[in-house]
Symmetry: D2
Subunit: 342 residues, 4 copies
C-alpha cells in the first residue's frame, strides 16, 4: 500500500506537473484529482500527456473530496489553500504550491497581495541552511515561488560566505507556463512566439519580497533586490541572472570556492564546470538547478546565472522533494536529474 | 549486476536519447560511451542534460572499445554499423539505430543509399503483427526510422483490416532533432524558428522505401506512398498526416473499430477518444504514439494522424522497447507513457 | 487627397495586417478604425507595432462609423459583413476579409457555416485566369481564405494544363495567427510552442469547399480535395503540401513548363529555381507566394509545395492587391515582395 | 539616377538586412554585392526573402569590386573594414556595420579584440546629443553594436538628466541572428528552441566597453556597467533591462519627464504610455526602439527596459538612418516605424 495522495488544481500547469512526477514515484498512490471550473471533465482533455491518468474524472475542489488521503498537494490560486488545509487535519501532509504561506512578514503579504496574511508554513527549499531539518516530519509545506527558488539558489552561497553586499539586481527570463493557464491576450501563442517582453517591472512582482526574505535571512541583514521578470518564447524554464556587489578584495577563486562548498553533495543543485554557462534546456523536466558564477572586477559585481525548469524544481519537483523529507522518504525518491533535450 | 551496455555515437541526438532512457532503466548498467570526432571529450559538454553521466569521457568508436558488454546500441551514420557488429560476437545484443539493416530489398537500399546492401536484421517495431515474436531473443535489431515508425503505426491497422486501398499520401512535420546535430546552414536556429519548410519532396526521402515495405507487407500487395517531409520549428516531435483511399462502403464506425482492435492492449500506442486530435507535445519524452482517424466521405479517403516523439518512440525509446523483448525483460521496463508538457 | 479608407475589426490580426499595409501605401489615407468589444480603446494597446497609428481610438463597428470613406476593409467574424455592406452604398469599395461572399454554392455555405448564404462577390485572387478583369472596377471584393489562397495557387496551373487528375490531397501547416486572436486554451503559447497539432480533419474545415470550387472551375470538372490543416509553432505562415494524381505520361519537364508558363510575369507568385523548396520564412510580411513542384513517378503524383504569409498574401496583402485593381491603381502599389528574415 | 550603393557581406544576416532596407529605399540604387566564401553564388540561395534581388551573383569582397559606388556598406568580420575603406577614396561614403571603428580608446580595443586599434569613425547613433550634427556630411560611419544601441538609448536620458548614478547593471536577451550565420553547435535550432542561455558573462562581452564609452560620455564621468547577454529562442530582437542607482530624492514623475524630454520628437525612439512594457515583437523589422521606465524606490534603482530589432535599428536600419544624414537626405527616408506583428 502506497501513500495515498490527492491533487487539487489538477487541470492547471502546476497541478499537472505535480501529477507527472507523482505518477512516476514508487511510493505514492494517486487518489482524488480536483479542479475548479473543469470539475466533471476527464483529466485527458487538459493533460493529454499524462496517458495513464487520462480517464480520471476531475472532482470539485472541496475539503470533502480531498479528505481521506495521506498527503494533499494544492495547486490553487492564492487565497484558497488556507481554508482547505484547516479542515484536512494535522495527520495529513498538505503541500501548498501557492503563495499563501511563504512569507513570514504579514505587512509584506498585505502590501503585495492585498489580503490578510494566512500564516507561515515550513519553507520547501531543502538546500537552504537548516531547512532539511525543518522539513523533516513537517505536516505543512509552503513550496517556494519559481523565481525565488532560482534566485535564492543562485545567490545564497555568496551571502552565506559573506562575499557579497546588498544591492542585488536580478533579471530573469521565464517560459510562459509560469503565468499559468489563464486565458489572457498576451499569453496567446501568436503574441509570445518570437518575442521577449518585460512585465511586473520596478519592484512590483509578488515574488520580490520572498527573494528579499530568503537572502536577508542568509545575509543576516536586510538585502535590497531589484527584480525584473521577462517572458521568453518557450513553455518551460527560468534563466535568472543575479548580481550583487562584490566584497572588497574578493577573488574569482574564493567566489568559486564558496559555491563549490555550498553545493558539494547537493543532489539537485550543480555548479557547472568552469567555462560552461547554464541553459534552461539542460534542466527540462528535471529537478535540477544549474549554476555558474563569475566575478566582474571592472563592475565590482558577482554575477550568478542559474537555470531551472520552473515547473519541476520550481514547482512540482521541489514540492515532491520536500514532501519526501516530510514523510521520511529518501529525498531523491521519484525525482530525476536527467532532463529531456534537445 | 545489471546488463552491461555500451552506446556508440553518444554525443549525437539519437545516442543522447538512448542514454537518457538507459539512465533511468533499472536493468541496464551503462558502460562505455563512444563518439567520432568528439572522442576524448566529456559527455557533459555535449549532453549537459544527462547530469549523472556528465563526467564520462567519450572513447573512440571501435569494436575494441565496444567489446565486453552484453548489449551495444549503435547511433552512427549509415554504413558504419555492419563492420562493428561483425566483430561483436553473437552473444552480444546489437541494436542499430541507423538505417543499414532496415530494408529487405537490396535494390531499394542501393537506389536510395548508393552503397551495397549490408543485410536485414529483425525489425524493431513490436506493434507490427508477429513482430514481438520475431524480436524475442533476437541478437540483432534494426530500429525503424522515425518517419516509418509514425506512418506504419498510423496506417497498418487499416491495411490489416482491408479497409483502405493503395495510393497512400503522407505529409509529416518533424522537429529539427530528426536532422541530427550536423552543422548545416538550414538547421541554424535563426533559419528554423518561425518557419516551416519542405525538403526531400517527390519520393526521394530515404525513409520512403521503408514505409512502402511495411505497409505492403501488411496489405499483402504493393502499396504506393507519396511522402513529403517538412521541418517544423520545434526540437522534437513528428506529426504525420496519412491518408489512403477508403474501401467502398467503409463506415466511420468500421474504421474506428479497426483501430480499436489493433491497439487495444498496446502499451505504447493509443487511439485518442473521438473528437481529440494528436499534438506532438502530448508525447514529448514519452515512448508513446497517439493516433486519431477520420473518414472523409466526400474525398473518399481515410485520414489517420499520429504524433510521436521522433527521438523517443521514434528512436531511443523504440530501441529500448525492442531490446527489452530481445533480452527477455518486460517490454515496458524503463519506458514511460507520461510526457513532459506543456 | 488620398483615397479615404476605413478598417473594421482593426484590433484583430487580420485587421491589423490590413492596417500595416495601408499605412505604407502611398494612395490611401487611413480614416475610421473600428472594433467590437475593444471599441473605445487605443489601437496601440492592441497593435503596438503600428507606431504611427498607436493613438487612434477605436470606434464601434456600425454602418454609420464606416460611412464617408471611399473604401472599407472588413475584418469581421463571418455573418457581419453583409448587413454593413448593404448600407455602405454602391460607390464605396467594400473589401471583405471574411468568408461570407466567397462561395458560389449556397448549399456548400449552409453545410459548412450553418447559416443562410449571403451571396457571392468578385473573388480576390487576381492570379486566377480571367480574375484580373473581373476585379477591375469592382465595388465588392471577397478576399479568399488563407488556405484556399495557398492551395489554389499551388495547384491551378497543373489543372489548367490538364496534367493532373482529381483526388487532391492537401496537408497544410499554419501559424497560429490564422486562428485569430480569440482566447482559446489550445492557442496559449504554452500549448503551441514546441508542438505541431492537427485540427479540422476529415473534410470538415470550412476552407475545403472554397478549394474545391476554385480547382474544379479551373479543371472544368469536379475535383475532390482531402484537406488536413495543422497548427505549427510560429505566428505567421502557411506551408501547404498539395498533391494530385499525375496524368499518364507526364514528365518532370512538362510539369515545370506548366508552372513556368502560369507564373511568368506574375508579380507576387514565384516558382523557385530547381532544387530549392519553399519555407514560410521566405515570405514573412511579403505579399508573395513561393512554389516548387516535383513529379513522384513511383507514387504517380504531382507534389506542389507553396509558402505564403497567411496574414499578408493570405489576407491583408491580397486584399490590398485586389483593391488596387478595383480602384484602377497599379496592382503592386504599396505591396512588397521583400520579406523579413531571418 | 539614384545613389549607387554596394554591400559587402551580403550573404550574412547583417548584410541581408542592410539590403532589405536599401531595396525599399527610394534614393539608393543597388550595385555590387559581395561575399566571402559564398562569392560566385546567387543571393537567392542565401537570402531567399529578398525576391527582387534573388538572381544577383555575389562577387568577391575586394576594394576593386566595391569601387565605383557612391556609398559602400560593410557587413564584415571585424578587422576587414579598415584596409578596404582606405582604398575607397574620401568621396565614397563608407558605413561599417562591424566593430572596428566604434571605440575611441585604443587600450579598450586591444583588450577586448586582441588586435591593433584601427581608429575611430563618427558614431552612428543620431539620437545621442550632438550626434546628428557629427553625422551630417560624414564620409565614414561606425554603426553601433546592437546591444550598445539598446542600452545607450535606454539609459542616456537618465544620465543626461543627472538622475542616476553609476553601477549600471544590464541583462539583455537577444535573438539568435545577433550571433550571425556562423555554423556553431550552440546555434543549431535544436539547441536554441525552447531554451534561454547565458554567454559572455562577467564583463567579457565585446560590447561592454562601447556601452561604458557612451554612457560615461553623457554622464561626464566614468560609469561602470555589469553586462550579461543571454540568447533567447527567437530569430530577431533585443530586450534589454537596464538599471542604475537612482539619485537621492528622485521621483517617478521626474524620471518620466527626463525621458519624455529626451525622446519628444525623435522619429525612431518612443517612450511607451504608462503601464505598457516593451516586447521585441513590437519592433520586428522596424527601425524603432521602444522604452519604458520605472522607479523602484525600495531597491533605490531606476529600471529602463527597451526593445529593438537587433538587425534593424540595431544594425541595418541604424546604418541607413545615419547614411541618410551623411548624404543630406531626410533622416527617415526609406525607414519605417511600422513593425510586422504578430
Amino acid at each position: 500500500m502506497g501513500i495515498r495522495v490527492a491533487v487539487a488544481g489538477a487541470s492547471g500547469y502546476a497541478g499537472g506537473e505535480v501529477l507527472r512526477i507523482l505518477a512516476g514515484h514508487p511510493e505514492f498512490e494517486i487518489g482524488t484529482l480536483t479542479a475548479g471550473s473543469n470539475a466533471g471533465t476527464e483529466l485527458g482533455t487538459h493533460q493529454p500527456h499524462l496517458r495513464s491518468l487520462a480517464d480520471r474524472v476531475l472532482e470539485e475542489t472541496t475539503p470533502d473530496t480531498l479528505a481521506g488521503h495521506d498527503a494533499v498537494f494544492l495547486a490553487l490560486p492564492h487565497g484558497q489553500s488556507g481554508p482547505i488545509a484547516e479542515q484536512l487535519g494535522d495527520d495529513v501532509l498538505v503541500v501548498d504550491c501557492g503563495a499563501d504561506f511563504r512569507l513570514r512578514n504579514a505587512a509584506d503579504w498585505e502590501r503585495f497581495y492585498g489580503s490578510p496574511h494566512a500564516g507561515t508554513w515550513p519553507y520547501g527549499l531543502p538546500e537552504l541552511p537548516g531547512q532539511r531539518e525543518a522539513l523533516a516530519g513537517a505536516g505543512r509545506i509552503a513550496v517556494p515561488g519559481c523565481y525565488p527558488t532560482a534566485v535564492t539558489l543562485a545567490l545564497f552561497p555568496a551571502f552565506a560566505a559573506g562575499i557579497v553586499g546588498s544591492d542585488v539586481v536580478v533579471v530573469a527570463a521565464s517560459g510562459t507556463s509560469g503565468a499559468g493557464r489563464a486565458l489572457k491576450p498576451h499569453l496567446l501563442g501568436s503574441e509570445v512566439m518570437g518575442s521577449v517582453s518585460a512585465y511586473g517591472v520596478g519592484g512590483v512582482h509578488r515574488h520580490t519580497p520572498e527573494m528579499i526574505q530568503n537572502l536577508s535571512a542568509v545575509a543576516g541583514e536586510p538585502v535590497t533586490v531589484s527584480f525584473t521578470p521577462t517572458l521568453a518564447p518557450m513553455s518551460r524554464g527560468i534563466l535568472a541572472t543575479c548580481t550583487a556587489k562584490a566584497a572588497p578584495g574578493l577573488t574569482a577563486a574564493a567566489l568559486r570556492d564558496a559555491y563549490t562548498a555550498a553545493y558539494d553533495g547537493e543532489p539537485f543543485v550543480g555548479l557547472l564546470p568552469e567555462g560552461r554557462w547554464p541553459a534552461t534546456s539542460m534542466t527540462l523536466g528535471a529537478n535540477t538547478a544549474l549554476v555558474q558564477v563569475a566575478l566582474d572586477e571592472d563592475a565590482g559585481r558577482v554575477v550568478a546565472v542559474i537555470a531551472i525548469d520552473n515547473l519541476t524544481k520550481g514547482t512540482g519537483g521541489g514540492a515532491v522533494q520536500s514532501a519526501n523529507l516530510a514523510l521520511g522518504l529518501p529525498e531523491q525518491l521519484g525525482l530525476t536529474t536527467i532532463g529531456v533535450a534537445p
